[in-house]
């Protein structure tokens, strides 16, 4: 490189670094927004709904879920057939869970996922995959 080129390069590097260092910190956090008006809280069904109603269908998923996922503690002692059946039942439950309201769906789908994945995990470790 020619002499002038090198000097220019040095100065450019210096200027670039100085600019980077002098660049201010990101702007301070904005002031907190005003609290939104409280929305009516959705009721959580505690008693079983009358048979045949849409609410009963909702409870049915819960009963099935409790039945399927009650066996996670014993997963190690179940047969591979049983584990496959449980995984299949979890997969069948998924659409019902996906149809729930926002937060219940978030909670239930996480639990279903953990339950199903545990059975799958035990199955796979048994098969040595």
């Amino acid at each position: 490189m020619r002499r002038t080129g090198r000097t220019f390069l040095g100065a450019a590097v210096a200027a670039g670094l100085a600019a980077a260092l002098l660049a201010g910190r990101p702007a301070a956090a904005q002031a907190p927004a005003k609290a939104p008006p409280p929305s009516p809280a959705p009721a959580r069904a505690k008693e079983p709904s009358p048979a045949g109603s849409p609410a009963a269908a909702k409870d049915a998923w819960k009963r099935e879920f409790e039945d399927v996922c009650a066996k996670t503690q014993d997963a190690m002692s179940l047969t591979s057939e049983e584990l496959r059946a449980l995984v299949a039942r979890c997969d069948k439950l998924k659409p019902a869970v996906d149809a729930l309201d926002e937060t219940e769906r978030k909670v239930a789908s996480r639990r279903l996922r953990e339950c199903r994945n545990l059975y799958q995990f035990v199955l796979e470790s048994r098969d040595g995959r």
Binding site: L21, T72, T103, R110, G128
Partner: protein
């Protein structure tokens, strides 16, 4: 001479990062005070709603409930702000509201309502019990008084929670009516040894039974430990310190990993 001039300019330029670095620190941080260890600040929604963020200290809840109850049955995430709890969720009986509903009873007392409805005067005092960041809130249960009779532990909360549970000094609850799935008791898993890569470090004795007391199976498998074949995944300390694998719990809430000998317990012959 020209070369020296260029070199000096380069040096002055290169020293700028060093001077900037002087503000950054990567030294050893203070050890959190025993009541502070396990503190999580929840702010996914609070500031947006105009309330101080929630300061959640794990120690009180962990002495009364298993990790599994909150992190599997109730569904809390294992990372700060991973759950995104909203006031409406609590009021609807999810997350904190699963217990903090003003009706459930623990130790003979009603658990206070979280994000409940009520007159502003009634509610305001309760809000501060959780939404306390930056506020000088004295907790209702005093840490020193509560942990007085518990076995001393190294670092962390200064309490050996494992020993406390073994001795029956604490009896963490694993089942929540209406939320938990009724389960049979756990088939015991075997303990096994993990060999460290660093020659001379004692082997790690991993005890399943000690962990399943608190966690059950689903909390760790397969999300944290997904290897189906034993030995197929090499856990490195740099990943663990970074919050992966064992570090999901043992960096923030369970006994901290500065206590090397709690895991590296089996001397290599």
């Amino acid at each position: 001479m020209k070369r020296l001039g260029i070199a000096t300019v380069a040096v002055l330029v290169l020293s700028l990062p060093a001077l900037a670095h002087a503000e950054q620190t990567s030294g050893k941080k203070r050890r959190p005070l025993p009541p502070e260890f396990g503190r999580v600040v929840l702010d996914a929604e609070s500031k947006k709603a105009g309330v101080p963020p929630v300061v959640f200290d794990h120690w009180l809840h962990r002495s009364k409930y298993t990790c599994r109850l909150c992190h599997v049955d109730i569904g809390f995430a294992m990372t700060a702000n991973g759950t995104k709890v909203k006031a409406a969720d609590n009021a609807a009986g999810f997350y904190c509201g699963a217990c903090h509903d003003g009706k459930r009873v623990t130790d003979g007392r009603k658990i206070f309502d979280s994000c409940g409805k009520g007159s502003p005067q009634e509610v305001r005092g309760t809000c501060l019990r959780c939404h306390s960041q930056g506020k000088n809130v004295v907790p209702q249960v005093d840490f020193v008084a509560f942990t007085k009779g518990l076995p001393k532990g190294r670092l962390g909360n200064g309490v050996d929670w494992e020993l406390a549970e073994e001795k029956g000094l604490i009896k963490p609850i694993d089942f929540l009516e209406g939320v938990s799935v009724p389960r049979k008791s756990l088939t015991a898993q075997k303990d096994f040894a993990l060999s460290p890569k660093l020659e001379g470090m004692p082997e790690i004795i991993f005890s399943h039974s000690k962990h399943t007391v608190w966690n059950g199976c689903e909390l760790c498998h397969p999300e944290i430990f997904g290897a189906v074949k034993k030995g197929s995944v090499k856990y490195t300390m740099s990943e663990i310190f970074d919050g992966k694998y064992c570090g999901v719990c043992h960096v923030t809430v369970a006994f901290p990993m500065q206590d090397c000998q709690r895991c590296h317990a089996k001397p290599v012959k």
